[in-house]
């Protein structure tokens, strides 16, 4: 978080014009909602919604050593990426704790785009730069000659939007023409758009089909308004961070800073599938091997309240049979389910699917059940 005045994305004026409620988030002034979180959530589930994600960071890593080096910096196996494809992955500290969760795209033979969390962009950049040079005491394999790998923070140059919802395929063709195919899941393409070039990735944070589009900051207003105009026929609505949070929580996608932190590792968070422990070296590997061997002391679980009642919120205590066993990290009333849902770190012995837990809310406890993810499934 920054002490300075929050930054404005290139779409700030558009949000204000649309009547958005603007709030500081991760050092940026962002729209939390335009009309209502419930309405915006349902628009994404049933039609199509557009989110400003210009606050997210873009780091470019390139050079003859880029691939090998990123495979040491990140947990997933970047060797599995063909040009034009991306993967969800983690940037860990030496203790295995999560500095950031991100998507790494291979946008050229020796060129990678890392799309990172707004609040972590500067930290990620400093961390990566530190490891690029032979640091004192750094293990031999981690060292990377600065001559063979360049890393640039391009966050200020790019704007971005996420367009999410079942209407995406039709809207995509309305925007890019009938002849351009939607990229496959996790792939990224650079179709022309109104005399400029944009990058379109088939990804998202809502559980609906959708894309994330990145463009030069100076093209942001043009693209945003074109999407709103062409999207009218499909019921598009601008959506804020409030709906982004409820949508991702219904899918049990973790939020960095709430469910993920430098004190938590991907195995505790139930995200081991994005860690390739067969890679010989990556930062945090030793710590994760130990966690895997001993079992994590706590696990991130998702739960559903048993009764209609107050929604769970971050930091509420979790009990089982009167014993405190954990703490809520994310909680809300799910607009899609019209029911209280959340995620919590719970001691491993109690973190079983189907287990009954109690959430303490203002001095009273309310029963909940640990469930499989996702909490919301399309019917």
């Amino acid at each position: 978080m920054t002490e300075n005045a929050p930054k404005k994305t290139p779409l700030y004026e558009e949000h204000v014009r649309l009547g958005a409620k603007m709030v500081p988030f991760a050092g940026w002034l962002m729209p939390v909602q335009y009309t209502s979180i419930v309405e915006e959530n349902q628009t994404v589930r049933n039609k199509v919604g557009i989110f400003d994600i210009s606050h997210m960071g873009q780091l470019i890593v390139e050079g003859s050593g880029a691939r090998e080096w990123l495979n040491v910096m990140l947990t997933n196996n970047i060797d599995k990426l063909d040009v034009g494809h991306g993967q969800y992955t983690f940037l860990l500290n030496e203790r295995g704790g999560i500095i950031d969760d991100l998507i790494a795209y291979r946008i050229g033979e020796q060129r990678f785009l890392l799309v990172v969390n707004a609040a972590r962009t500067d930290e990620d950049f400093v961390w990566l730069k530190k490891w690029r040079r032979p640091a004192a005491g750094a293990p031999e394999n981690y060292r990377q000659d600065a001559d063979t790998t360049a890393i640039v923070n391009r966050s200020a140059d790019f704007g971005g939007v996420a367009i999410q919802g079942p209407g995406i395929a039709e809207l995509f063709h309305a925007l890019f023409g009938k002849d351009v195919d939607l990229p496959p899941r996790n792939a990224i393409i650079d179709p022309p758009f109104d005399g400029t070039k944009v990058s379109v990735a088939r990804t998202g944070y809502t559980g609906e089909d959708g894309i994330e589009v990145f463009f030069r900051a100076s093209d942001a207003v043009k693209f945003w308004n074109a999407a709103l105009e062409k999207g009218k026929a499909f019921g598009i609505k601008p959506c804020g961070l409030g709906a982004r949070d409820t949508l991702r929580l219904e899918m049990c996608y973790p939020l960095n800073g709430s469910d993920l932190s430098p004190e938590r590792n991907p195995i505790e968070a139930g995200l081991g599938v994005f860690v390739d422990l067969t890679k010989p070296h990556f930062i945090g590997r030793d710590a994760l091997l130990k966690t895997k061997e001993n079992g994590p002391p706590e696990k991130l679980v998702q739960f559903r309240m048993k009764e209609k009642g107050p929604p769970p919120r971050p930091h509420y205590a979790v009990f089982q049979n009167g014993e405190r066993v954990g703490e809520v990290t994310s909680g809300t009333l799910s607009p899609s389910l019209n029911w209280g849902i959340g995620m919590a770190y719970v001691s491993a012995a109690h973190a079983k699917i189907g287990a009954q837990i109690d959430i303490e809310i203002r001095g009273r406890t309310f029963p909940a059940t640990i469930e499989k993810k996702p909490l919301y499934k399309k019917s």
């Binding site: 009309t35 209502s36 979180i37 107050p310 929604p311 809300t332 009333l333 607009p335």
Partner: protein, 125 residues
């Protein structure tokens, strides 16, 4: 924003309608529009005593929980059970069916501490 002339207001966005030796209390149109999507209301306990500015109820939106304060010292003699089934009443009719509780006032002079409509309009403008 609707700020009816015949009500009294608090800095914390409650309204109070005097009904003899009682006041009916809810949250203002401005407050409900800031919260949007009220999804849960925790009503105060019947017969509880409350001091002015004491938190005695909670209104929750999708995003957050907000305390609701007693505008004056008194005793809770009525609560709006309809909000348990339909908390959205607060959004739809903040000054009508969306009322939250009724207090029997200890001292009618305390009402002088509250804002009139004009002062509240100034506060939220």
């Amino acid at each position: 924003m609707n700020v009816p002339d015949d009500l009294l207001y608090t800095e914390t966005h409650e309204w109070a309608r005097r009904e003899g030796d009682k006041v009916r209390v809810g949250i203002t149109d401005h407050a409900q529009s800031e919260l949007t999507d009220v999804v849960y209301v925790e009503l105060p306990k019947m017969d509880r005593q409350a001091n002015a500015k004491e938190a005695i109820a909670v209104v929750e939106s999708v995003k957050a929980a907000s305390d609701i304060y007693a505008p004056v010292r008194g005793t809770v003699i009525e609560v709006n059970r309809a909000l348990e089934a339909d908390p959205g009443l607060i959004n739809r009719e903040p000054y009508g069916q969306g009322w939250i509780f009724v207090l029997k006032i200890d001292n009618a002079d305390d009402l002088k501490q509250l804002k009139d409509a004009e002062a509240y309009r100034k506060q939220i403008s």
